[in-house]
């Protein structure tokens, strides 16, 4: 499924309105933003009991999410610019709790799975900052194999 606009996305993310994003999948509860950022479109990742989570503490703080991505081979880096040989992710937080993760594509744009809803492609991590996801907490990168 591809499309250029959806009313709920326009309302939830004011920075994304006016066609600044592309819908790249249908809604799905099979996976979420964290799984998608890690390249896993078959599981819902969460610190809550019963959900996929690696061997790090199960709590909602953004520090735990950073530790989880570090365990998956990512390191905090300076910016969201496209760097040859690296895959980058942006981690979001609101009031100290993690809310979202997005992943940089090889063309420099970013891809996000919006909870149980659609995947979208957008220009920058800050496009999703706002009431729903809070703000970007940090950018992390991992060397591509």
């Amino acid at each position: 499924m591809n499309g250029n606009s959806n009313a709920w996305i326009d309302n939830a993310f004011p920075s994304l309105s006016h066609g600044r994003y592309t819908i790249t999948s249908a809604p799905s509860v099979d996976y979420n933003c964290i799984g998608w950022a890690l390249g896993d479109s078959a599981a819902w990742w969460s610190h809550l009991p019963g959900y996929r989570w690696p061997n790090v503490e199960r709590n909602p703080t953004v520090e735990t999410l950073v530790a989880m991505f570090a365990q998956m081979g990512y390191q905090i880096c300076d910016d969201a610019c496209l760097e040859n040989g690296f895959e980058k992710v942006a981690l979001y937080e609101k009031a100290g709790l993690w809310t979202h993760a997005s992943r940089q594509l090889t063309n420099g744009r970013w891809t996000s799975k919006l909870g149980p809803e659609e995947d979208i492609e957008h220009a920058t991590p800050d496009d999703l900052s706002g009431v729903l996801y809070g703000a970007v907490h940090c950018i992390m990168r991992k060397r591509q194999p």
Binding site: G35, G50, Y51, L132
Partner: protein, 153 residues
């Protein structure tokens, strides 16, 4: 009947409420009527069945309304933590053990994020590590757990 039910600081569950009503009525009859005849006993049992049935219907109706409201109003695009904080989801958890069969029935109909509610109510965590995050397998684990525990839906 006023004053027959012992006041309590905690709200009783619906089934407990039925039991309290029945016990209070029996106590009233024993006190005021010098015992309960067989006919009274049959009427009491019939009354208990009717009340239980009405209460169950109300429980199902309330649950369906709250579940529908949650699905429509939960924060879209947010993760499970924000979804389960929705007041309708919290009210379902507050309904206690009586809604466990209804949650399991919902999971059987469509895998959704009812796992936290089940965990919060029962304290169980039946999803094996290899199924964690896979909603269909998580649902299957909870359904199998529910059947093993004797829940019927």
């Amino acid at each position: 009947m006023q004053g027959l039910v012992e006041p309590s600081l905690e709200l009783p569950g619906l089934i407990d409420f039925t039991r309290i009503c029945r016990e209070s009525w029996e106590r009233f009859l024993r006190t005021k009527c010098n015992g309960i005849t067989e006919e009274m006993r049959r009427e009491l049992d019939a009354m208990k069945d009717v009340i239980s049935c009405l209460i169950h219907e109300e429980l199902v109706s309330d649950f369906n309304k709250l579940a529908q409201q949650w699905e429509q109003e939960r924060p879209r695009g947010s993760d499970v933590l924000q979804m389960i904080m929705h007041p309708s989801y919290q009210r379902i958890i507050g309904m206690g053990h009586d809604v466990v069969p209804l949650l399991l029935k919902e999971l059987e109909r469509k895998p959704e994020h009812w796992f936290w509610a089940l965990h919060a109510i029962t304290g169980a965590d039946p999803v094996p590590p290899e199924s964690q995050g896979n909603l269909k397998e998580m649902a299957a684990s909870w359904i199998a757990w529910g059947k093993k525990q004797g829940y019927e839906w």
